[in-house]
């Protein structure tokens, strides 16, 4: 198939220290980081500033484009909408009133919203740096060797493999539809909204059926090569000392920040 799916791959090739670090170190480091950020008390700005240091350092070391990282981490912004009502629902020192509705904005509420924004953005930042410097295949291997349930890892690995195949099928379905979106001069084309929705529904249904049938063929191909219901993977590689030290160091730093934020 000639069509290339314009989505999917998050990895940005590079040779930096962050790129070459073992995914088995990067994955738990990123998870520990997100965990620490989540645990930070609301409105403790010095702690959040200290927590911004590790991703900032990783960003500089990785030589990723700042614009790319900012664009991808903007994915966290829509969640802010869900947090906005907190400004009015949390009780505390009155900031201002919305006259007609009788809503009262509070200082505490504003702090909560800003904390949620900062925390979700920092967490996104860690995830973006992780996925931009680590090939998906390496992440999968890391999940395996860190002892995630095999069935889960196998499922994620199939998802990664077939995301592109199914994406290409969807793309060619849409192209086939668009190629027949002809219009005669002087005629009002396009059909009714209901009819168009029906066409789209049929396309989604056909994609589902194709995917379902493919899953049966893939399963047959697995069986043909001996699959017996138990996912098995290639062997693990040896750990490198520097990476262990790095992860332990990061975890110690995070624990230090959390302790500082509380006492």
């Amino acid at each position: 198939m000639a069509a290339r799916v314009p989505f999917g791959e998050r990895y940005v090739a590079g040779r930096s220290a962050i790129h070459t670090a073992d995914a088995r170190a990067k994955l738990p480091a990123a998870l520990a980081y997100v965990f620490a950020v989540t645990l930070t008390p609301v409105g403790h700005w010095p702690a959040l500033a200290l927590l911004a240091l590790p991703p900032a350092a990783a960003l500089v070391l990785s030589r990723l484009s700042l614009l790319l990282v900012l664009r991808r981490s903007a994915l966290a912004l829509p969640f802010l909408l869900a947090a906005v009502p907190l400004v009015f629902t949390k009780e505390g020192e009155v900031l201002f009133n919305v006259p007609l509705f009788g809503w009262t904005a509070s200082q505490e509420g504003l702090e909560a919203v800003l904390s949620i924004l900062a925390k979700s953005w920092l967490s996104m930042l860690a995830a973006v740096i992780l996925t931009a410097t680590t090939p998906a295949v390496e992440l999968l291997r890391a999940m395996r060797s860190l002892g995630l349930p095999r069935l889960l890892v196998a499922t994620v690995s199939f998802m990664y493999r077939y995301l592109f195949v199914i994406g290409e099928e969807a793309l060619s379905l849409m192209r086939a539809r668009d190629s027949r979106n002809a219009r005669l001069p002087g005629q009002k084309g396009g059909g009714t909204l209901g009819w168009r929705a029906k066409v789209l529904g049929n396309m989604v249904g056909s994609l589902f059926l194709r995917t379902y049938e493919r899953s049966e063929r893939v399963y047959a191909a697995m069986q043909a090569r001996g699959y017996d219901g138990e996912p098995r993977f290639l062997w693990r590689r040896a750990w490198r000392a520097t990476e262990v030290v790095l992860v332990v160091g990061l975890v110690a730093y995070l624990a230090g920040v959390e302790l500082y934020a509380r006492y």
């Binding site: 199939f158 047959a220 043909a224 290639l234």
Partner: protein, 245 residues
């Protein structure tokens, strides 16, 4: 008697006796297939779409289980010896996106040997050898979705070569390949020593590579003989919707 061959179990690679199979939706795909393939034979499986070619291939390693008997190297296929039979029959599917289900080429080529329970050195040695055999050394860490169809087809063959099967069953190996990829694939198939059964619509491939031809239509075998004789029987070919150009 002169001219008769006594066929021993060792010489017979595949033996199919009165095989019948219906899909769950009621379509009767095989209606009594009888076929014997000797060791080292290269057999073409011709026939229109829906003749039952792929269904027959799926029976050779027990993915589908119909009524009747399938024997591989003299051993009847049973539920308890499926794993051994699958090590013996390498089935290559038509769509390489079905066959290549792992995130990287190396993992896919290692899959079969890994499930055979081979030691780690043996697994990587076999994967290396299979990739070299199909001319894809250096692609180990690539993701299948980044490859061309011709490359995917070759790697799909490597994924069964690494299992070192005695019999290769290929479903439409040259379908939708461009002329160069097709030529490369034919060269690859020519050099493989295994017993081979190839379902195809590619008549030049049959003529070049496969001395024996079996024609299927409507779930039965309607002709079986020397490729040259069958391909020159235009009445037979026309009756079963096949053209020779």
């Amino acid at each position: 008697m002169l001219g008769t061959r006594v066929e021993t179990a060792v010489e017979t690679a595949v033996e199919v006796i009165d095989l019948r199979f219906a899909y769950p939706d009621g379509v009767q795909a095989l209606r009594g297939v009888n076929l014997t393939i000797r060791r080292g034979e290269k057999v073409a499986l011709l026939g229109p779409n829906g003749a039952g070619k792929s269904t027959l291939l799926l029976h050779l390693n027990g993915i589908l289980r119909g009524k009747g008997q399938v024997r591989i190297a003299g051993v009847p296929l049973r539920a308890d010896n499926l794993a051994q039979v699958r090590a013996c029959v390498g089935l290559v599917f038509e769509d390489p996106d079905d066959q290549l289900f792992s995130p990287t080429v190396l993992e896919d080529v290692s899959y079969g040997p890994l499930y055979m329970g081979l030691p780690r050195e043996e697994v990587s040695e076999r994967a290396r050898r299979a990739l070299a055999q199909v001319g894809m050394t250096g692609f180990e860490e690539r993701s299948p979705h980044r490859l061309s169809l011709g490359q995917k087809k070759r790697i799909a063959i490597a994924t069964v070569l690494s299992m070192e099967p005695a019999i290769l069953a290929l479903d439409e190996p040259t379908a939708s390949l461009d002329p160069r990829a097709r030529r490369e694939l034919i060269h690859l198939l020519r050099d493989l020593p295994q017993t081979m059964i190839v379902s195809t619509h590619d008549i030049p491939l049959v003529r070049d590579l496969l001395p024996r031809t079996v024609v299927m239509d409507g779930g039965v075998i309607v002709a079986d003989g020397e490729t040259r004789a069958i391909l020159s029987d235009s009445a037979l070919l026309a009756a079963h919707g096949l053209d020779v150009y």
